[in-house]
Symmetry: D3
Subunit: 239 residues, 6 copies
């Protein structure tokens, strides 16, 4: 089984880190291919960057020429998953929904700890659209930007644990989701610090993608995600 893991930003080091996490939990027979878009921001932390990432992700996936069985859109709170679902025959999994879906199996309510305060409303919106917001206790910001996450792992872990503890005590969360692909690899440390299960979207997405392929399930092609109608599209592909 071959799974494409597509970063939403243009920083290849983050792609590499996420691929490493995915491989760590993937089955022996699963191949993880990392893709980095050639268009867009080095880190996605807002609406403009997210919309641009949506089309950049499509662009880089469509330019991949080999066969593949599933796609993981490796961004948290980003736009674009619906377009991939519409264009592709194989299943598409986004980190946001992947993390949150597994969180539903682990406790009564979950919280998300993310990067900057400004990304909170984007995640809220994604949860609402996904119909997965009813059990969300809170979305908390760690105050660290995507690129700062990588710089000092100890500081990063501490900041995420601090918000996780508050989510459990003040917001009544029982499970924490790591709210950024760039946090991949911190789940064990955060779980130890916070005393609750911690779900990482990259590893969650990997297992869910594998599960869908194993069950021979893919996106429904009636209505919302039917293939686009044939028409003239100017300036596409972008690259």
């Amino acid at each position: 089984m071959r799974i494409l893991l597509v970063n939403v930003n243009t920083t290849a080091a983050i792609t590499a880190a996420m691929v490493e996490q995915a491989r760590a939990v993937a089955a022996a027979e699963t191949e993880i291919i990392g893709l980095t878009p050639s268009i867009g921001a080095t880190s996605v932390e807002g609406n403009f960057e997210s919309y641009l990432a949506a089309v950049a992700v499509i662009d880089v996936v469509q330019s991949y020429k080999g066969p593949y069985d599933a796609v993981i859109q490796a961004g948290f709170g980003e736009h674009g998953r619906e377009a991939l679902q519409e264009l592709l025959a194989v299943p598409v999994v986004d980190l946001t929904e992947a993390a949150v879906l597994l969180a539903h199996l682990l406790g009564h309510r979950y919280s998300i700890v993310t990067t900057l305060d400004r990304t909170v409303p984007l995640i809220e919106d994604r949860l609402k659209l996904a119909g997965l917001d009813a059990h969300c206790a809170s979305i908390r910001s760690s105050g660290l930007s995507v690129l700062e996450l990588e710089k000092d792992e100890e500081r990063t872990t501490k900041a995420i644990v601090a918000q996780s503890v508050r989510a459990v005590r003040e917001d009544r969360a029982e499970v924490i989701c790591l709210g950024c692909g760039g946090m991949a690899g911190l789940s064990t440390a955060v779980a130890m610090g916070a005393g609750v299960p911690v779900v990482d979207g990259v590893t969650a997405g990997t297992k869910l993608a594998e599960s869908l392929v194993a069950l021979n399930l893919s996106t429904s092609k009636v209505r919302t995600f039917a293939l686009p109608r044939t028409k003239t599209v100017l300036g596409w592909p972008l690259h």
Copy 2:
């Protein structure tokens, strides 16, 4: 006052038709400038096309060099409004919210009559995100594509009236919103046929944009729509 009306698709004839409608209701001192993107589908009727339109709209607005006081994103159910709000200092109005906001002032519940069945979930999603779905009685498809709307005005009107009448009788709507920018100009005929007020997003958006400018109100710059942080963005602008 100068208002940019940006089409979401690349068909200039639709831009022209919408500009004509906007001018018909604008104040004497309001100048309406129509913009047509150079990238994207000739008509937007799905997720991929909508996401591409989101960035194409930003691209064409950013390449407009003169001053302006407000922007109307002239698409119904399309993505992208949040990115424009984030990037611009002036107010941004989308047809979907414009039509639906005025509908709230006219009756207990409203319905939307749109083009193809596949666009219904996109509109549902936009209403949910806008927090304006509580009074939505239904979203009905006329069965006509965006480009078919223009071809035979009588058939188009008949199809929209038929769905409007069903919305009033079966879904308990009291107001109808025209669910496509390409329907601009049909509101009077549909209102006569359906016996209820009919709101057209283009004219609603024009008056709302004028109102915001007159009241000196624009997008809040705290949190969700704060300017993007300074960072490297590869491949932008697109054109």
Copy 3:
């Protein structure tokens, strides 16, 4: 175009102040006529006073003999808008919905800052009925009664700004609505103090009423707001 602006309370000075605000933003060709009921409380701050205002407003509007194009019910959180909509052919705009509708165009969530704590549940109820509560971050009380608002503008502004700042920081509001007709005129000062857009219902209502008239839109007459059936009504009109 002639718009009736009907105060919900019997204090003529408040009517005069609201009319002044309305005129400041109205188009040159719009005439604003202020009406003050002859029945009811000098300030409306509770359920009994609000219900009495509802019928007093109808009474004073029906006793106005000239032609008019729209009615603004100038109260925040008050009952009665539905009855006016039922009785009249012209559009009716209430300050609560007017302010909140425009707030939807300006940010992800809005808060309302009102007078006394006891009026908060009334406003909550009006938002819920209007289907406009989904994006409401909070309704905060300034602790000042309607009549106290007028006494010391500096103190009033300070109290409203203080709650607005808390709404932005603690409740995650991005836009503030002034929650009392008697606050008309303070929006600029509050916006400067709070650092976010501030919507005033009187000016919002004026522009929305003008917009509806310009678009030839009025209340739907099917079902909810159909004219009352012909029947004996004892003791009416009240005056």
Copy 4:
């Protein structure tokens, strides 16, 4: 124990019929006093009539001079209950909430069968405000006006049963509430026809009022229903 049962309309025959029903289920020591307002419509079937009834009900209750232990506002879907709660120290029960509260104890979902189609949105609004709409399967109109209900009991029963049966089959209701005070007395016949429990607001309200008095419970006086502040109220009382 003395309970005032206040009709919302000015037709004394309906007051008498409701008092008769209330007495049929009241405890031996409960005295039911019927009150008919001197102001308002002979039957309440819309927003204007309902708002007028709200103040007429207050007016007639305040003019009652003896002691009493509870008040039943005997209208379905009408405004005004909150004002009575604010003004009085004794508990206030409205037929709408009374019927629906008991329905919650009897099945998974309930429907309401009411008079004219135009009253359906009013009832919807009251349920939403009462926070009791989650288990409402539907509100169906019998097509009969309030005054027609009395004219031909067989026809009335048949019309209500017909809608009740459709509510059970099509809307998945398991309990029916009679949606008009004027339907008092028909619950047994409708229950036999529809095959499900049928709750009548008049008898439900009577038992709930008795229960509150027996438990020494009355309206909370913090915040929403605190006594009105002392102020000048012009033209009050109305009579």
Copy 5:
């Protein structure tokens, strides 16, 4: 009229205390029979104990041989009410819904003060299923276990009052519900301390059960609570 009051736990002293409270408010002609299950935990404070109580309650009710008119399931937040409703012809009232239903008649929002923090999610779930959560301001834990409640009435009252006061001030509750059958008897003291009406589920349930019997109303037998189909059930009854 004979009402069975079935404790959900196996502590007979709690049954006795609840029966005493029920008798204190029951009509003269109402007989209250207390039942204590022979299976299950001495106090129910979690999911396992609650599910076991659900079947233990059925077991003890089915082993009661005399006639009866209604059953009160005397637990707060416990499972099992639906099964009793399915099996029995007479009405079944659970303390959770009983308290909360009456609270709806007394104020704009209510809070519940219960025992341990771990029972809060169970109560949340019961309210959600009952469709009665919209007006719930908060569910607060007193920090006392079920069996601790009985030990020191002064300490217990103080702990409940403290949370009630916070519910009124911080959560905007206007009514308090005692969230445990073991709190029966404290409502007057808590009401005095908190300054708002306090509803006790045992007395509320008693009056509601009496009301349903008086109105000849019982559980609907269509669909959800239809009698079980005839089939082999191994190991039943349990005792």
Copy 6:
């Protein structure tokens, strides 16, 4: 990895069929152990049977003596999952949530096709509690009882396909979930008939249980699912 698959009813043939399905999709290194309770109904189709199953499932799991890594509660719409989560250290997956969670990844809305009409409200309740009802288009009954499902596979498939097709056309579902453990094995045939992806809870549950174990994730032990407090439990275990 060893997973216990616990049937909710006492029919061993259904256990065997579900184990076969689970094994068909499980990884090579996963061992599936089927358990059948010794207490309860031969098929679970209502509230009493479901509550009894809840404790019977606990009873049989606790009597299993070997080690295991996860438990699948193999019933659709049944009670009891929370109690298992509370008692066990390993993850617990219920068929209802398993099917529905995967459905969220496959389309905009999903429907469930189940057995008898009377089980529909139970499934509704489970979805509501799980916070997974927002994207549920409908729950439809096939009209076949659990034990009838096995008798004539062709008739069963036809009945499920018929309801699936109506769910897609009338309720706007894009994905179907098989709403009974006894339907395991029919997903391919139903998918072909209905033209949309079909999720079977048994296979979905198997892959989700494997995923949680692989990710080292299990039930949060703070608050809702903390181990029961130490106390006397009469009559337990049941067997």
